[in-house]
Symmetry: C2
Subunit: 279 residues, 2 copies
Amino acid sequence: MTPASSSEFDQGIALRPDGEAGWYRGELGEGWQIGGGINGGFLLAAAANALRQELPQHPDPLSISGYYLSASTPGPYTVRTEVVRKGNSLSNATAVLYQQDEHGQQVERLRVLASYTDLAALDAEVGTAAEPPAMPPREQCIGAEHAPPQFVEQAALLRRFDLRLDPACVGWALGQPSGNGRIQGWFRLADDREPDPLALLLVADALPPVTFDLGRPGWAPTIELTVHLRALPAAGWLRVSHATRNLAGGYFEEDCEIWDEAGRLVAQSRQLARTPRAK
Amino acid sequence: MTPASSSEFDQGIALRPDGEAGWYRGELGEGWQIGGGINGGFLLAAAANALRQELPQHPDPLSISGYYLSASTPGPYTVRTEVVRKGNSLSNATAVLYQQDEHGQQVERLRVLASYTDLAALDAEVGTAAEPPAMPPREQCIGAEHAPPQFVEQAALLRRFDLRLDPACVGWALGQPSGNGRIQGWFRLADDREPDPLALLLVADALPPVTFDLGRPGWAPTIELTVHLRALPAAGWLRVSHATRNLAGGYFEEDCEIWDEAGRLVAQSRQLARTPRAK
């Protein structure tokens, strides 16, 4: 169902029809694990790929919301899709991603609700006041090769990425978090697979939790992640920033912006996640 | 199903069971119209009220996403709810709000996906870096009584509110929009009904479209609205700010913050809406 491709990402989200109309199956690879589960952005991309199969006229998510119901694990999964409405410029659809638990019970991992469109057909007007995040050139940024080994061990995911973090946002790796609640850097898939709307869903959840920069080194389970795809990304490197302002009640929001090499704000996302316990 | 109340809002979102388990019906009042349709925040609150009936242990939305499928009109509606998961601290559920079209066909107006919790039981920790919006005291702000009549005509909704806009954000009413993409003000329901989580869903979409401040006076249909409820609001006035940064491709995001009288950031929301045509 997915264009033949040698890219790790395309192979990772590849699907097969699963008999009944609207059902698909795939396999979550160990390489997309983070802190013991499968990365939430990757899972959203897998579900979004199933929806794309059902909406040939509107292949791109414009807005997509994922609610995470249980921790997904490497292994097979199935996706059930439902097309709710096919419109002229937008279509709406839902998806449910399931895995079998250790008792053979089908368990929901992720529920998705989305509006799909054809991003290539959007109005060309751009009247943005947003500025790309200011960060040093890539050669002055910090790659995963400098990350603490115990961190990389928990994040097989990092080997899929060429991620170069702004040195101003990596104090946490040395036990000196800035306290600003901001992590940003340059991003590219390690195998140089170029960005597209599905890859941007992965990128929206690809950086370390912004709570690392607040001295909370634990993993932060995502409750909800909504991504707005605002333009087709140009080929090349992406600039990604994650920031939080309101850590309260045991939860925090993480706002993400993704800028492409042409200097266009191509995606905006916000997630609500559970705050890791303070050390 | 809704506590007996003389408040316009509680009466507006009041529901009755509709036979089958999980189904409810209600009536959309003309008083909640804006630009010809029913206000999107009000519609989300009506659906959220149906979900609340199904989740007595977790009565409050923590995160709720609404996708708007067609313009709703005054008159009867039905809501179908589905509880997806009941957990210890969170439950997940979906809702679909329907109306009959002029041919008697059942049409979907709104699809909702949400995580519910008990906001009163949240961890008390607050470590926020967010600051309430700076705005003048209420007596220096501008009430709807000063709004252009042709504007109020299209917005019966405004009569339900005691809304006092920051004078710095109302230049658009005089044909002199600031161009900042920001509208903020003080909010209270006109009948003094105190804020609660369902009312905050209405408030998240209650101000004029932020595009007014960019010289785009038309109505801006909401594609998707996600609200994060971060705390139970204190009684009294709310401070509400709407801002946009990225108007592109025929769409714009509208970020909303709602602060309560105790100075707590009680809700954060973002919507993706269609940009009104330039004059």
